[in-house]
Structures are given as structure tokens and as C-alpha cells.
Amino acid sequence: MTTVMIERCMTCGRCSAACPVAFAMDVPPHFWAVRVRQGEGESLARAEAIWSCLACFCCAARCPRGVRPVELAEQARSVTLRKENHTATFADETVLQIISKKSGKAIPQQLIVAAMRKKRA
């Protein structure tokens, strides 16, 4: 399940054109909404691309239809982490989130994602 408006994607490619790391992705962002729409979210979760995503939100900013591919990557990462029995998941309280609560400052998305990637490695 996803809150991303995947049905709005018209496969224009602007997200992949904007994405700073799409060149290194096995599955660039313009495929993401389509994959999930076709019931192949699993294959997206297995793609290396979701771990290369910087969570920079370029794709979301440029998409002419208001799709937010970045959030599909986030969700796929969090599902994968949970499956791999990591106790702290993206949705749960991570160490960073605890820090954030204590310091009263929001954590930049990129930092959270970087932490996720470290955790997985």
C-alpha cells in the first residue's frame, strides 16, 4: 500500500532526467510508479536503486503530475528493512529520531536515509 499517487504517472521521464543519481540506478525513478501500479512493488524493493536514492526530492519537485517517486523508494527501503528484521525501521524510532526529539530539531531527510543505508550495511 502506498499514499503516493502512482496512478497519476504518465511516464514522461522528468523525474529520471532530474535525478542526480539516476545514471547509476538499475531501475531509474520513472519506472517506479509504473512498477507498483503493475503489482511489481516487490521487484522495486529488490532493486539497487532504492539504496542509491539520495532523498533529495528532485524527482518530486520536477514531476508534472504531482507523483513523488522519492516516497516509493523510502517505503521500499522501510519494508525491506523490516523484512530483514531490523528492529528499528524507517517508521519506528531510530536512534536519530530520538536525538532529534531530544535536540528539538528536525533531521534532514538525507541524514535519515544515510543512516538507513549504514544500518543495512
Partner: protein, 679 residues
């Protein structure tokens, strides 16, 4: 008012094929409504609107001596006129017909057959209750001013004006810029035949300007619109040109002499400059300059007057002022066209950062022999012929976040045209087009696009550009090739943006003046998307060209001629039949408070000082009913929708139906006509 006793009503329940019958038990409706004593005949039929159906109604009127008819069928917008005509043929007053809408308001929106059947019975009862209180109404007549006003002098306005003028009617053609011609005058060649735009447009411009029935007002805008179909009165502001149209010979000495020269020329999309006194382009019609007062040194500082000094016939006139004109006309054609969406919102495409990123319209000027480079395609930055030209389609179109949600319709075709034109002129150049979809429906259109690919070797890449960076004399493009499913980084010399089309500036204000609607995107709305595509919802206002939505020239011209044909259809009428369903003031009840006067959007109401009450100008009233709702003493009634009728309908719908559901409704005091029968 004649007092009519309606005692014998016929009810006709239509199946509309399966449209109604599939959801409504029509036989049960026929049964149920016969409990009303006034219903002396009820019948069902597959299509009452068909010839046979109408005839069966006429026969029933005769056979059962009916004095009113209720048709339970589709929306009155669809067939009210049909059934009123049938009633007239049967010898009834056409306003003794009521429609119960059991299709749009019932069968099409419900699934439960039992409930829908019950609702159909209720709606039928309401219509029966209403028709019982009907009074005969007789349409009036109004004169038609045999003159047309066309607003906008692009190809659409020119074509409509010529067609109406050719039919023998006077036309006033209003254009707000100094010359007619519109966007087409800016184009180089036109798809799909690649004929030169000026060659086919200029003769039409001249014909419009010299036609004996056409009066041209350029540099003129509409300020106010009053009146109604057949009798509009429009106020125009003809801006001061500061050049006498009669004396000017069009020699051009003035703009050569003008010392203020560095003003971006709007017609050339700012790619070249003009003087403060100027004609927008060489073939301008009329070929009479205007002074741009904001830039003119004389108007700014009182010093200069060079143009006046060199003008041999003494045409320059610094004291000229705006003129206000009033035009009486029978119809109005709107032909205000479009403009291009500014690429401002798309910073990643570097339109403002790089001179070598241009719009498609700017490219038209570069390719045009009369343009700033004499028809040579030279990069703005270094005036070299680009070796590679890249296009990106759908900039701001089909974009619900930063642009317009619709497809601009013409850009796929003109981009293919641009690619072919560049390949024709510079066969060694490399042309690449980024697209989302290529949309080329239209006669010979797809063939044209395929020719670009197959005969000219234009490379179409399914994908978009995410970022443009300039280094040295190259534009670096970060893009994607979606069919390959990979990033495609490349360089180019010139990048052309096919930007979206939007309504012309001021379209909304004009629509408000005309009392007509625009759609969510600001384009003028047609009265019916299929059956009345060139009429606006306001009687006597017609739509021509791209003011109604993105259109190419063939479609624009077709619509322009269609609008003209519709307009002529009004202008030829000796008299117009007026709608009798207008407001009526019960003078004994009206206390002259004038609350209704303020409500009326058509200015049809005024207070008669002597009698101390409001009176209705029957010619102006459009029967909107605002006054009837506003009047605190219930003194205003809308004929055909009287308070008595509407209350009876509401009672029929809301009070528990009994055997004689509508026999004893609540008494209402404000029954203006005394036309009721059974209460």
C-alpha cells in the same frame, strides 16, 4: 391575464430506449400517476421525441381533449422545445407543457430500480402540480441591429469578419494591438503544407481592411458591454496613436528619425528593437505607426518631436487623445486567441540564464525571412548557425503542478515543422526532439511527423530534460532516454522550448463584460461541447478560434466560419422571438424598495417614481429569477416559474403523497396570476 382552468392533463412517460426503462418501472409510473383526478390520460413509449412519439402526444391531445401535457423524459434542455412545438401543433399553448426530468436527475444517477421508480412518480407529480397552475404565455419580439462586432483581429477574427461582411452585414473589427494579424503573422511556414504564413494571411488582412462592410478599429479595446442578443451596445476605447490615420502615407520617415531606438519589439518577441514611434512589422495593417507614449522622449520630457519634424504630410499629432466609441450591434464574435505560457516556472531549463534557450515562437521569428536575422537561424549568443538543435515538447502542458493540465494540441505538429524546416535549410544539422507522446491526429498530420523522422532523419527521443547547464558555447543537457531506460547526457547548440498555450491576457475580464463563462483554464466556454461548439452560453455571443482552446490554423478557420454562419443566422432575422418567461411585478404588492433592482445582472429593473414601484424592461430581462427570489414582499414572479407553481412543485415533492397528492396544497398568498384552478 387569461384565466385558464387546467383539468385534463395527459402524462407521457418515455423509456428513452433503455436509458430510463432499465432503471425505472415506467408502467408502474403510468399506473401511479393516474390516481390524480386531473390526469385523464397516461401512456408510455420508447421514444416520445421521435416523430411517432410526438404524433402520439398530438393524437392523445385530440382524443382526450387534453388541456396540458406532462412529459416524463430527459432534461428540458434536451427536448423541452421539441415537446412545446408538438403541443403547439396540437393546438395548445406551448407553455402548457411541463417536463419531469427522470433521466439526468433519476435513471442516470440511480441504481435501485424501486427507489428510482418512486422518485420518477414524485417528479411526475411535481410536474403535474406545476402545470396545473400554468398560464398561457406568448413570446414577444425584438428588433435586430444588423451589425456584428468581432473582438480580436487574428486569423479567427479576420475570417469571421470577412464571412459576415460577405453576407452583406456591417462588421466592426476590434484589435487591441496596432495591427491585425495575430500570432499567424509571426509564423514562418505553416504545417502541414508548409506554405508561408504571410503569403496566405496578408491578402486576408488587406481584404478585411478594405472591405466595404468592415470598419477596422486597431489599438482599441472593449470597455463595456450592455444589452442583449440583437441589441448590444458596446463601448470601445480607441487609444491615441498620435498619428493621423488619414494624413499618414506610411513612408516610415518618422521611425527612422526617432532617437529612442532600443525598445524590444513585441512582434519580434524582443529579438530586435524598435523605435518609440513604430509599426509592429512591415506588412502591418493598417500601415500607420503608433507612438509608444511611455517610451517617447516627447511624452516623457517634452523635448524631441523629431518624428513630427520629418513627417512630410504632418501626420504626427502629439495632442491626440483616446476616443470613446459606442457600437450598436446585434451579435458579438469573440476571437481573442491565445498567448504562450512564460517558461519562468521551469528554471531547470535555463531560459533566463542562457540566450541559446529560446521558445518556439522565437524560433519562428529566426526562421522568418522578415525576422531579425533575415531568415538565418543564428544562435543568439554568438550569431553562429547551430550544428545541433534540440527541442523539448510539453513545456508547461499536461502539467498539473507548475503548468497547465491540458495538452496544448499544436506543439507536436509545429515542433515537427520546425525540425523539417531546419533540416531543409541546414541539411548538415542534427535535430533532436524530446517528447512524452507524439500527438498528431489530423488530416495528413501523422504523415507529416513520420516524414520528419523518415525523410529528414530527425531523432525523436522519448524522454525529458531535467537540467540545462551552459559551459562555453555549449548547452549541457541532463536528460533521460526512456525507451533505453537510461540517463542520456548530451550537449547542444540551441534548445527550443515548445511552451504551453494559455488564454490571451484579459480574456476573463472580457468574459465578465460579456456575461459569458470561461472554463477552469480560462478559455471561453461553448454552450454545448458537442452540439453547440461555436456558441457561448450567452445568446448572441459566438466563439471563434483559439480563445476557446488551443487550435491550429485549419481548425481556427473552420470554427471562425462556423461562428460567422451562426452569427449570420441571427442577423438575417427580421425580428427575434423573445422568451416570455420573464419577471413580472405585481404592482399592488411592490412597495418600491428596489432591492430587486440591485440584484438584476441585466439592469432590467427600475423604479417608476410616479407609481412608486418597480417596472421590468421586458427586452432586457433574461428570466434569471434573481429578483423573484430577492423580493421581500413576494411581489415579483417569474412567468412560467411563478411562486404558485414552484410552491406546488415543492409540496408535491415534500408532502406525503396521498391518493390526491396535490389536491390540497398549502395556500400561498403571493400568487401573482390568479391562474390556479384547483385550490
Amino acid at each position: 391575464m387569461t384565466r385558464v382552468i387546467i383539468k385534463r392533463i395527459g402524462v407521457f412517460v418515455c423509456h428513452c430506449g433503455s436509458n430510463i426503462k432499465a432503471t425505472v418501472d415506467t408502467a408502474a409510473v403510468v399506473d401511479a400517476i393516474q390516481s390524480d383526478a386531473s390526469v385523464v390520460h397516461a401512456a408510455e413509449y420508447p421514444y416520445f421525441c421521435a416523430e411517432g412519439g410526438q404524433q402520439s402526444i398530438i393524437n392523445a391531445v385530440h382524443a382526450h381533449a387534453l388541456d396540458a401535457v406532462v412529459v416524463c423524459a430527459c432534461s428540458p434542455r434536451m427536448h423541452e422545445a421539441t415537446f412545446r412545438k408538438a403541443a403547439t401543433r396540437a393546438g395548445l399553448n406551448p407553455y402548457f407543457v411541463e417536463i419531469a426530468n427522470i433521466r439526468e436527475q433519476n435513471s442516470w444517477v440511480h441504481k435501485n430500480k424501486e427507489a428510482a421508480t418512486q422518485k420518477a412518480v414524485q417528479l411526475a407529480r411535481a410536474a403535474i402540480a406545476k402545470v396545473k397552475r400554468a398560464v398561457p404565455l406568448f413570446p414577444g419580439e425584438s428588433a435586430v441591429t444588423k451589425r456584428a462586432l468581432v473582438i480580436g483581429g487574428g486569423i479567427a477574427g479576420i475570417q469571421s469578419a470577412l464571412d459576415i461582411a460577405e453576407a452583406g452585414f456591417e462588421v466592426v473589427l476590434v484589435e487591441r494591438t496596432p495591427s491585425i494579424g495575430g500570432k499567424m503573422a509571426q509564423l514562418d511556414k505553416t504545417f502541414p503544407t508548409l506554405d508561408c504564413a504571410a503569403c496566405i494571411l496578408t491578402p486576408k488582412m488587406v481584404e478585411a481592411a478594405t472591405h466595404e462592410h468592415i470598419v477596422l478599429h486597431t489599438y482599441t479595446e472593449v470597455e463595456k458591454v450592455a444589452g442583449y442578443v440583437g441589441n448590444f451596445s458596446v463601448t470601445l476605447r480607441k487609444r491615441a496613436r498620435n498619428v493621423d490615420m488619414q494624413k499618414c502615407t506610411g513612408c516610415g520617415d518618422c521611425y527612422a528619425a526617432c532617437p529612442v531606438k532600443r525598445i524590444p519589439n513585441e512582434f519580434e518577441c524582443g529579438l530586435s528593437n524598435r523605435a518609440a514611434i513604430y509599426v509592429p512589422f512591415a506588412q502591418a495593417v493598417p500601415n500607420v505607426p503608433v507612438i509608444d507614449r511611455e517610451r517617447c522622449a516627447y511624452f516623457r520630457s517634452g523635448k524631441c518631436g523629431r518624428c513630427a519634424e520629418v513627417c512630410q504630410p504632418g501626420a504626427v499629432n502629439f495632442t491626440q487623445e483616446d476616443e470613446i466609441l459606442t457600437i450598436e450591434c446585434g451579435i458579438i464574435v469573440v476571437a481573442t486567441g491565445y498567448q504562450l505560457l512564460s517558461p519562468d516556472m521551469f528554471g531547470e531549463l535555463s531560459y533566463h540564464d542562457s540566450a541559446d534557450v529560446i521558445t518556439s515562437l522565437e524560433l519562428e521569428r529566426f526562421m522568418n525571412a522578415a525576422g531579425p536575422t533575415g531568415g538565418k537561424l543564428l544562435r543568439p549568443s554568438d550569431k553562429q548557425v547551430p550544428r545541433r538543435v534540440t527541442f523539448v515538447q510539453c513545456v508547461g502542458s499536461r502539467d498539473t503542478t507548475r503548468g497547465k493540465p491540458y495538452c496544448s494540441k499544436i506543439c507536436c505538429m509545429y515542433t515537427a515543422k520546425h525540425a523539417i524546416a531546419i533540416k531543409e535549410k541546414y541539411p548538415d544539422s542534427d535535430v533532436e526532439i524530446f517528447y512524452i507522446d507524439v500527438r498528431t491526429p489530423g488530416k495528413n498530420f501523422d504523415e507529416f511527423y513520420r516524414r520528419a523522422v523518415e525523410a529528414y532523419g530527425v531523432r525523436y527521443i522519448k524522454g525529458q530534460i531535467g537540467k540545462v547547464v551552459t559551459t562555453g558555447d555549449k548547452l549541457h543537457l541532463q536528460a533521460v532516454d526512456m525507451l533505453e531506460g537510461r540517463r542520456y547526457n548530451t550537449t547542444t547548440d540551441l534548445l527550443v522550448l515548445a511552451t504551453a498555450i494559455e488564454p490571451a491576457r484579459g480574456a476573463k475580464t472580457l468574459a465578465q463584460m460579456l456575461n459569458t463563462a470561461t472554463d477552469t483554464n480560462g478559455f471561453f466556454s461553448e454552450a454545448h461541447p458537442k452540439l453547440r461548439p461555436v456558441e457561448s452560453a450567452t445568446a448572441g455571443v459566438f466563439l471563434s478560434g483559439a480563445c476557446h482552446g488551443p487550435k491550429d490554423i485549419p481548425e481556427t478557420v473552420a470554427q471562425a466560419s462556423a461562428a460567422a454562419a451562426k452569427a449570420i443566422g441571427v442577423l438575417v432575422k427580421p425580428k427575434l422571438v423573445t422568451n416570455p418567461c420573464i419577471a413580472q411585478v405585481n404592482e399592488t404588492q411592490c412597495n418600491g424598495c428596489t432591492i430587486c433592482n440591485a440584484v438584476c445582472p441585466y439592469l432590467a429593473l427600475s423604479r417608476d417614481g410616479e407609481r412608486g414601484c418597480t417596472t421590468v424592461n421586458a427586452a432586457l430581462c433574461q428570466g434569471c429569477g434573481g429578483c423573484a427570489a430577492a423580493c421581500p414582499s413576494g411581489a415579483v414572479d417569474l412567468l412560467g416559474f411563478s411562486h404558485a407553481q414552484i410552491h406546488a412543485e415543492v409540496d408535491a415533492l415534500c408532502l406525503q403523497p396521498t391518493t390526491h397528492a396535490n389536491a390540497a396544497p398549502i395556500k400561498h398568498t403571493n400568487n401573482a396570476h390568479g391562474g390556479t384552478t384547483d385550490d
